[in-house]
């Protein structure tokens, strides 16, 4: 993989913008501590599922069921850390 942390970050922001309809400005303003699941009303179980499938497609990774726990979707920082771990695996 040629993904750098910066491109993974950009890919992740873009897919959250697409799925949650955040718009570029809100997506760019996400910080490590920004809450996702439970905080953003758009982030329901269907959105979680869509995010996972799009992460697989756009980052070229495979995500197993048992890797997923609620914490991954708690904050943007957690989701980014998980993605970075997956692309370097």
């Amino acid at each position: 993989m040629t993904d750098t942390p910066a491109t993974v970050d950009a890919t992740l922001r873009a897919l959250l913008a697409d799925i949650l309809g955040l718009g570029e400005a809100r997506a760019a303003a996400l910080t490590e501590d920004s809450g996702l699941f439970g905080e953003l009303p758009e982030f329901d179980s269907m959105a979680v599922a869509t995010v996972l499938t799009e992460m697989e497609d756009r980052l070229g990774i495979i995500i197993d069921d048992d890797e997923i726990d609620g914490e991954i979707f708690e904050t943007y920082g957690n989701l980014l850390a998980f993605s970075l771990r997956k692309v370097t695996d």
């Binding site: 697409d18 799925i19 309809g21 996972l52 048992d66």
Partner: protein, 222 residues
């Protein structure tokens, strides 16, 4: 097939009919408004545009768990057979999995997707909802259950035949075909079919109509 369909006519005689095959399941709701705007834009360019309800979707009286992909393919072929004059098929996403039994002068596909990817998302939504409800389920356990009985996935009760069909469905080659993606080389716009809440994109609807109109000329429609 006795299902409702939405039909938008041009002011004068139509150059051809564009059969719109929408995305499947929730993705259809998320894109419907923009697709209808595209149908209006097509009508302004002299095309009739028709978007049928698939059996088991929208206003259909057929229970969803009684249908499968083969049934949808046949239903679309039936709709197409009743249309007079030249016909062009325009399909989006999962709609591209069911558009190849239609007899048409040409096909146009936007952002085609494999059935396995759609199914994976639907099953994941169920796993995620189960987790919230304190129930433990997994892709594997649900896939196994789906071999024996209908499964409720993100509000859709799908039959074992539908789930097996989706799991293996690939977009089928067909000619003449223009297959476009979102982006600079294709249609400028956002993937509304992924959106958690329905949106609309009028500029994208215009771009879709223009691209279909150009393609229709290449397919010999005047």
């Amino acid at each position: 097939m006795g299902e409702h369909h939405l039909r938008i006519e041009p002011a004068g005689a139509s150059r051809a009919t564009i059969l719109i095959v929408p995305p499947l399941f929730e993705e259809a709701n998320r894109t419907r408004r923009t697709l209808v705007l595209a149908m209006r834009a097509l009508a302004a360019q002299g095309f009739a545009a028709i978007m049928p309800d698939l059996p088991g979707q929208n206003e259909s009286l057929v229970p969803l768990e009684h249908v499968d992909l083969a049934g949808w393919q046949a239903a679309l072929a039936e709709v197409a057979a009743d249309i007079d004059g030249p016909l062009l098929v325009a399909s989006l996403r999962g709609g591209c999995l069911i558009d190849h039994q239609v007899k048409a002068a040409g096909w146009w596909r936007l952002a085609p997707v494999g059935g396995a990817s759609l199914l994976r998302t639907l099953i994941r939504a169920r796993v995620s909802a189960d987790r919230e409800a304190g129930v433990t389920s997994s892709l594997e356990s649900l896939t196994e259950t789906a071999q024996r009985e209908p499964l409720l996935l993100a509000g859709n009760r799908l039959s074992p035949a539908m789930i097996a069909g989706l799991g293996s469905a690939e977009v089928q080659p067909i000619e003449p075909l223009r297959s476009v993606a979102l982006g600079a080389d294709g249609i400028a716009g956002t993937p509304l079919w992924l959106r958690a809440e329905p949106g609309e994109d009028a500029a994208m609807a215009e771009a879709i109509a223009d691209d279909i109109a150009s393609w229709s000329a290449i397919c010999g429609i005047n």
